[in-house]
């Protein structure tokens, strides 16, 4: 994988903080890609929990914000590549909304690197593993979400 990122599987153990990452992925590409990663026994850190939707177009910006409000340390939205959407163009519409979420995060002082939208196709199992690993590494570096502190 030539894309920039930290693809080293982070260490885990007692005393090491583990982030909570909410994944929201589409059924046809990224969920299938994640399944393929399983079939290929691609190993990645277990800090992500997936909610499956039929299309990233279904993802309301409020779902992402709800996850952050609930204390997620990171959110990953993943769908089909542009032009490959099972429903023609849901991922374009999702991407537009997700840009909006990123802008909002910046303006409320929440590091927008905690949120990412990626495009992983049904044949990109290895890419799914790399994406999750990188997301986990980035969020680990950023530390626990400040919202968790507010909530306390």
């Amino acid at each position: 994988m030539s894309a920039p990122g930290n693809f080293a599987i982070p260490e885990r153990g007692p005393g090491i903080w583990q982030p909570k990452i909410q994944g929201i992925v589409c059924n046809w590409c990224s969920y299938a890609g994640a399944d393929l990663a399983g079939g290929g026994r691609i190993q990645y850190p277990p800090d992500i929990r997936i909610v499956r939707v039929m299309c990233t177009g279904r993802i309301d910006a409020l779902f992402v914000l709800k996850a952050f409000a609930d204390g997620a340390d990171g959110v990953l939205v993943s769908g089909c590549h542009f032009g490959d959407c099972h429903y023609l163009e849901g991922n374009y519409k999702a991407a537009k909304r997700m840009f909006m979420v990123k802008r909002l995060m910046k303006s409320i002082g929440l590091d927008d690197r905690r949120f990412r939208m990626t495009f992983v196709s049904a044949s990109e199992g290895a890419k799914w593993g790399a994406v999750v690993t990188d997301v986990v590494n980035v969020v680990r570096e950023l530390g626990p979400s400040p919202i968790t502190e507010f909530n306390k």
Binding site: Y31, Y44, P45, R58, D60, D70, E89, A94, R97, S121
Partner: protein, 719 residues
Amino acid sequence: MAEKKATTKKTETKKDTKKVAPVKDDVKKQAPAPAAKPKAAAAPAQVGSTIKQEPRIGVFVCHCGTNIAGSMDIPAVQEYASTLPGVEYVDNYQYMCSTPGQSKIDKAIHDHKLTGIVVAACSPRLHEPTFRTATKEGGLNPFRFEMANIREQNSWVHMHDREGSTDKAKDAVRIAVAKAKLLQDLYPKTVPVEKSAMVVGAGVAGMQAALDLAAAGIKTYLVEADTSIGGRMSQLDKTFPTLDCSQCILTPKMVDVGRDQNIELYTWSEIEAVEGYIGNFDVTIRKKARGVLTPKEAAARGIVGGGCNGCGDCDAVCPVVKPNDFEVGMKPRKAIYINHPQVVPLIYTIDFNSCIKCGLCVTACGSEKRAIDLESKDEFIKVKVGTAILATGYDIFPIEKKEEWGYKKYENVITSLEFERLICASGPTGGHLVRPSDGQTPKKVAFVLCAGSRDNTGTGKPYCSRFCCMYSLKHAHQIIEKIPGCVPYLFYMDIRSFGKMYEEFYYRIQDEGAKFIRGRVANILEDPKTKNLHVHADDTLLDRPIDLDVDLVVLAAAIQPKADTNRTRKLFGVSCSMDGWLLEAHPKLNPCGTTTAGVFLAGVCQAPKDIPDTVASAEGAASAASIPIHKGEVELEPYFASCIEERCAGCGMCVNLCPYSALSLVEKEGRKVMQVTEAKCKGCGTCGGFCPGGAIWMNHFTTPQIVAQIDAFLLGGEQ
């Protein structure tokens, strides 16, 4: 065994205590929910009375042998599940998908009056249908089932992190239970299936699929981009390992296709647009301007006894000369042409990119046939089909990109497809293999296998093109047979002779005197005087470098998806794998299906295949495509959108977002509200993801369900 028994016992005790204890907790949890979603009443009529019932969820954890149990603590997951509010029954089993596993669900629904089922096992993309059926057999609505994926997305990807995967599985169960509590009864919509099918591409795969569908009594539209049918196979001379003449075995099929009453053939045509869904695809075919009328078209214009009869008088007078693509550019054709004498349909075509409209052909055709229309335009034809098969085939990889072999730089380096035409009796040289530089018969011919295949340099293709080994063996046989004293040298990495009678064929060619050199060709240089070629390679068996002087080099070039494949697949909503081949629904168990219901794959467009495999896959695709048509109706998953009218402000933003034009604004009680046409809605939820008023209810992926899943993960952990 003992451990298992103990677990079961523990479960039962838990179960007993549960019945009394946590009910209060449930009520507390559930109480605010109805207030927060008044839409329950406004939601579609399918919302049964059971929704008001207290949720009673059954959780089943699957071991999948050691696939899951080997990487996590199943008893811990099960015990955790039993502590979750709303969970009434928990169990585990070695293989939940087995008959005893499924009957556990059936029994538990009856014994414990469950309202929802959660199975923590593999991916819902694999076994959701299985467990939905089991849920239905237990007397519940099949959509009251939710799956927690603890295999593909857990035990298999965290194989050495027992604690991490156990925690993740507990969360996955909690998230699934949260959704299961809010699941509703849903009823699939049944739609009729149009009694017709479409096949895109009329190579041997497309022809076979169309013939099978037609034989099953299904009206089939066969669309081919070229001017005639037959595809790649019609360009080949002989086929391995039987050495049948390719044209001889293919032309009867071509004639059958042309003659079949159930097949409507569109050559020189492309798919322009596809709308609709399984059972009801509306396909627009672009019939490119051909400039020549078929007898039928002529009759429609009132020209009695007119139209093209393939006489070729026009060809004789046309002054424009162009390279013939069918002969890989090695033979001239006119601006009005047919690919080869055996074409089906036997109708000439004008290449309007090179035609100068001199009108000589019109005169030659005469006043009786009046077949030529120099002003003809593209036509658009709309057809309705129930299912479609893509058989778009392949192109040769542009092997000149591998500059070290000098294709298109040295005259005597040719591709295997050019070799096929040169050795073919109907080809440009009448079957005499000659060197392009001087027309001499070669005496030493080098074959470069894996030319661009199994290439990880980034220039070529990483995959095996699968039939190059075998046709190169066949080429070696052909030159030994046709040119006395000529020696073939095959530079190979591995000879992959995997099919029926293939290995035997390999031995036969070895015995005939072909030379095999195990080594990849490093580069090829030309002697500028003789135009002979120096092939440089490492003989890895003898462990020494080779510099072989030959007369002709044949590159067994890799194959790649046909140039137009990407456009066509997007029209039909089919995905592709990383190398561009079309993606099957399942690589092993559904190789002809796609993730778009009603669209199937045949032949090489899915992956490289030789002719027997291509024909087998075409027959498979035809059989699969005929099933919905013979059934007459299909069930659509009921993931429709609907409008919660009291929340709808009638802004109409969703109407513009819908890619299927399924939404519209209607007047109701003096104000505008959105209305869904269910038959058009495919359930993507793009409208529901945007609605500023939260007025759109997406069946099975409702906002309360998704929010409950997020809350269950992030807030539920401390319970």
